[in-house]
């Protein structure tokens, strides 16, 4: 092996045509623009501020679940139990606060504890999932599927199937107030998403999610404490679901036993449409958010069109597939 090293051919050093991260972020933008135009054509009500704000508010809880799930997916796990956490976290917190006469547990903690307890419950569920997956080595999908059922069941057992009414003021405030013309819930989401985007872009801990989800061994070799990252992300997911639960409870004024049930499908749909990979290590929060917006717009338009109940599911499914096709050909990328 002698001889002067030749300069490597320059072609390989050309900058890649686009920066993947940024490009993927925008993949859904064309589809969203199309939807906005279609919406405006379909109904004069659609482009009004009132309607669009309502869309945002209606999607706010979903968006927080998607935020949590996106973080978890990027780190290479999944958490199905989020859809139960959004119900049981506020239900338990409220049951601890209200008197037994209103279906409470009779503990009657002071009212101000409701929100902290709710967050605590969310975090604890995330922590428990983490324990089962990381310490006991159980399958994450299965554990959280079991949790999904069990937590929903606990909520039923806790409330004996009753809806909880005496929702503390703090919940109602968050659900009903507007700040600067936007519902408080929307602000909460915007702030949390902004924090998420910042963390995933500029913080080392945030970037480590991609490493952990993309190649666990490589992350470990690079000095990342993989288990700790996964655990943290599961706890954050639970926390965000609890926040979503607070917003939902505030918006609806009650906690039904079924609160959130069936949402997990939408959560995955929004995340995956938004470019988050189920295999881990790929996707951005901006993408996930646009997935949420897209689903919200589709629902809103179908609603304004007053599609008959018999056709609403068919249309919804068809539009999702259509959106996939549009995204596929707009980005030119085969989806995995």
């Amino acid at each position: 092996m002698t001889g002067t090293p030749t300069r490597p051919p320059s072609a390989a050093a050309d900058p890649p045509k686009f920066r993947l991260g940024r490009y993927q972020d925008l993949a859904l933008v064309p589809a969203i623009v199309v939807l906005l135009v279609v919406g405006a054509l379909v109904s004069p009500v659609f482009p009004t501020t009132g309607n669009l704000v309502a869309v945002l508010q209606q999607q706010s809880e979903l968006s927080l679940l998607v935020l949590g799930q996106a973080l978890i997916l990027i780190a290479g796990k999944m958490d199905l139990s989020l859809e139960s956490t959004i119900g049981i976290a506020p239900a338990l917190a409220i049951a601890l606060v209200i008197p037994a006469a209103s279906n409470g547990l009779g503990v009657e903690l002071p009212a101000w504890t409701a929100i902290p307890v709710c967050l605590l419950v969310g975090a604890a569920i995330g922590g428990l999932n983490g324990f089962l997956v990381l310490k006991l080595g159980l399958s994450g999908f299965m554990v959280t599927l079991g949790m999904l059922t069990m937590l929903r069941g606990l909520q039923e057992a806790l409330t004996k199937g009753q809806t909880l009414f005496d929702v503390p003021e703090s919940f109602l405030y968050l659900g009903a107030t507007t700040w600067l013309g936007l519902p408080a819930a929307v602000w909460v989401c915007v702030l949390l998403f902004a924090a998420g985007v910042f963390a995933l872009t500029y913080l080392r801990q945030g970037r480590s999610l991609y490493a952990v989800g993309g190649n666990k061994e490589a992350a470990r070799a690079a000095g990342i404490r993989v288990d700790r990252v996964v655990w943290a992300v599961l706890v954050i997911g639970g926390l965000l679901a609890a926040v979503a639960g607070i917003l939902m409870t505030g918006r609806l004024g009650t906690v039904a036993v079924t609160q959130g049930s069936g949402m997990i499908f939408k959560v995955f749909a929004a995340a995956v449409i938004g470019g988050i990979s189920l295999q881990g290590g790929r996707g951005t929060l901006f993408g996930a958010l646009s997935g949420v917006l897209m689903l919200g717009l589709v629902e809103n338009i179908l609603r304004l069109l007053s599609v008959s109940g018999f056709y609403i599911n068919a249309s919804y499914g068809a539009v999702i597939i259509l959106a996939l096709v549009v995204t596929r050909f707009a980005t030119g990328k085969v989806q995995e």
């Binding site: 009500v45 209606q58 039923e156 199937g161 009414f165 009650t254 069936g262 609603r303 007053s306 109940g309």
Partner: protein
Amino acid sequence: ATTGGASGVGPIGVDHPRADSDFWNSYIKYTPEKAKALGIDLMAPTNSQNKVENLVANAQSLQSQGAKAIVMAPQDTGAVASTLDRLEKAGIPVVTVDTRPDRGKAYMVVRADNKAYGEKACRFLGEKLGGKGKVVEFQGSLSSVNGRDRSEAFAQCMKANFPGITVFEEPTDWEGAKASAALQTRLNQHPDVNGIYMQAGGVFLAPTLQVLRQKDMLVPPTDPKHVFIVSNDGIPQELEAIRKGEIDATVSQPADLYAEWALFYAKAAIEGRTFKPGRTDHGSEIVDVGGGLLEDQLPAPLITRDNVDDKAFWGNQIGK
């Protein structure tokens, strides 16, 4: 988007609770007919697919499209409270069908008393069984008021009046497959089960008959081995089964009256009429269920072999 002539009263918005149950589909079919008869300008109905989030969003959307009154059937009677508040603030009267909101203001509640369903079923079975025996009960989803009301009333009545009857409560979430499995298991455990109460004929009828058929237990009422079956709903298939002697009774939940009177009251609300508790001219009674909330309790007749051919039952009016 309205369907009626602009001349009619309205527009009135209607939100349907779901599109996947036979009872509600009959109701959905009746709505436009009855609206036309009442001279109502009906908006295109929305459907909340059994989810309160959808109901909330639909109400918002009907409101922004200019509804003067809204008819809805909130399956989650708690979570509509904030929506009712908002509509009240916006001056839009609401008529609820089938369920009574736990909180919040409605102009009128139109429903049959679900507790009465459970009670009627209990009394019928109790008498037929002579106060002894074993009854399997397919409970609806316990997170729905109707399921809960029917279950509670049935249980209370049984305990109070027929202590000699053992009741097996089977949670089914309104799913036929769960009922079928539960019945199979229960019949293995207790081959002497001689009564069944199913809280929704549309869902449980066929699976139940299929299990009994497989077990050779589908015998005429005259046979001592006959299993007495009471159902709720009153759809045409149940009436047919009563005629054939496969089941014995059903409580007819009046889909036609639900549609008719809900729209009637919505129109009355727009016209500014008021109602007081007391008997009505259509065989029902308006009661004050508390806090000034009025409920028109429509009759829910028990259909048995004796009256199954009565043309007045809605189940006999629509082609099946």
